[in-house]
Amino acid sequence: MSTVSVHGVGTSHFGRQPERDLVALAWDAVREAFADADVTGVDAVWVGTVFGPPGVAQRVLRAMGVTGIPVITVENACASGTTAFLEAHEAVRTGRYGRVLALGIEQMSTAFAGAITPEPTDPEGRSGLALPALYAMAAARYLYDGAVTPAQLAAVSVKNHAHALHNPRAQYAGHHTVEEVLGSRMIADPLTLLQCCPTSDGAAAAVLAPASGGSREVGVRAVALRSGAPWNHRSPHVWGHDVVRDTAAEAFAAAGLDAVSDLDVAEVHDAFTIGEIVTTEALGLVAPGEGGKAAESGVTALGGTRPVNPSGGLLSRGHPLGATGLAQLAEIVWQLRGEAGRRQVDGARLGLVETMGGGVSVLDGNACVVAVLEAP
């Protein structure tokens, strides 16, 4: 068994890029990751994608000369990229392969005019439950319970759009006000347009290998994955809370984390504003019911005591589904190396990645992945 490090990361730009194909987007990510790791090849590849057509992994890899080795494609909704990372990590840890590439790719702009079309073979998808509506009902319940205010929901969007001002790869960025966020077009009550992640194209990649003590290697302290148990009338929390909490508990135990407060920086799944609020509570970064207040008061902003989503998050960096988890990972790797520029969390030593995938009715999420990473 080996201790595993991330030796290199890379990403494309994130945004609507219908004129570029997945070969071009993946090349941006892999070329950068290989250069970052100072390697020219790997022994195996795990690829995460949700809407990529059959064979897409081999199609993009052969265009860059990555052929003749095992290539495995995984799908776990929005957590597909981090699932690829988890599997790559396990392959290196157990010695199955020496050096492994985890790659996430997605092109949304050519597939959907707006929100993702609900899956018609799923009961709730067939009923017209677009994903914004699922998160909207979590937000509506939080409002009903007095666990958040509309202004606190909006504060997450304000914060993450401001963070992205310092991220040149982000799809959107801006100085918005709470009033602008709440006044933007209603998508699914109470979530407005600026509280929803955009339609994005992109790719992100990481090279994993045994730790060798290199000055730029970011250690993987732990990574855990769970799929959701039934979410129903007996569930004490909104959709997605419990699977995040349970996956995090597993990852934190495996990482030997003394306290969640030891984490210096986190990239979490803010596909919608309420997602970041529920997730920061489920992770234990903030107390139950404090997620909204933490966004509003700056606790989770850059410069706060618990900085969350310094990249801009899914809301602003963008959310190309299969690429998202590895985009989050790349951000944490840069943060832990001190390479994040004007969005750097000073002295970050321990970082967290959390990705949440949904879309199967009855379940509390298709999959959640939580990883804990450590500075060189």
Binding site: A113, G114, A115, T117, P118, P120, T121, D122, P123, E124, R126, S127, G128, L129, A130, P132, A133, A136, M137, A138, A140, R141, Y144, R185, M186, I187, A188, D189, P190, A229, P230, W231, N232, H233, V238, S361, V362, L363
Partner: protein, 133 residues
């Protein structure tokens, strides 16, 4: 609520049978092992994998949460109202909510409010109406 594009294959949504006074009841299942209730005629309990027996739920329930979808979804002109409804002694189901055609603006069903399950729409969606408290 017409115009849902219907792909081939069996409808995955819960099946609803006529109930008293024009209401509807969900033809679901109850687990022999853990008592979990489900709105679906699936072969085993989603919570524990145990054997299940047929069970009916509804027509009354309480809105756990609700929204109005205001973006276009293929085959579904916006706006339309959705709610998660906890059927009395039964499962949580996703349902459409009857819209008052005289309302100025379509608003979500009140969270915590009482609703009654109706027969499914022509398109097969579960449908509830808000009932007075």
């Amino acid at each position: 609520m017409g115009g849902v594009s219907a792909p081939g294959g069996p409808d995955p949504r819960p099946q609803v049978s006529p109930g008293a006074d024009g209401g509807g009841v969900v033809d679901g299942r109850r687990c022999r092992s853990c008592d979990e209730v489900s709105a679906f005629a699936w072969p085993a309990c989603p919570a524990c994998g145990g054997a299940v027996d047929p069970a009916s739920f509804g027509p009354f329930g309480t809105v756990w949460s609700a929204t109005v979808v205001r973006i276009p979804v293929p085959g579904r002109p916006p706006p339309y109202r959705l709610a998660y409804v906890d059927l009395d002694d039964g499962p949580r189901v996703l349902a459409h909510v009857v819209t008052d055609p005289t309302a100025d603006r379509v608003l979500p069903a009140p969270v915590g409010g009482r609703v009654r399950l109706l027969p499914t729409t022509d398109d097969g969606d579960l449908l509830v109406e808000v009932v007075p408290a």
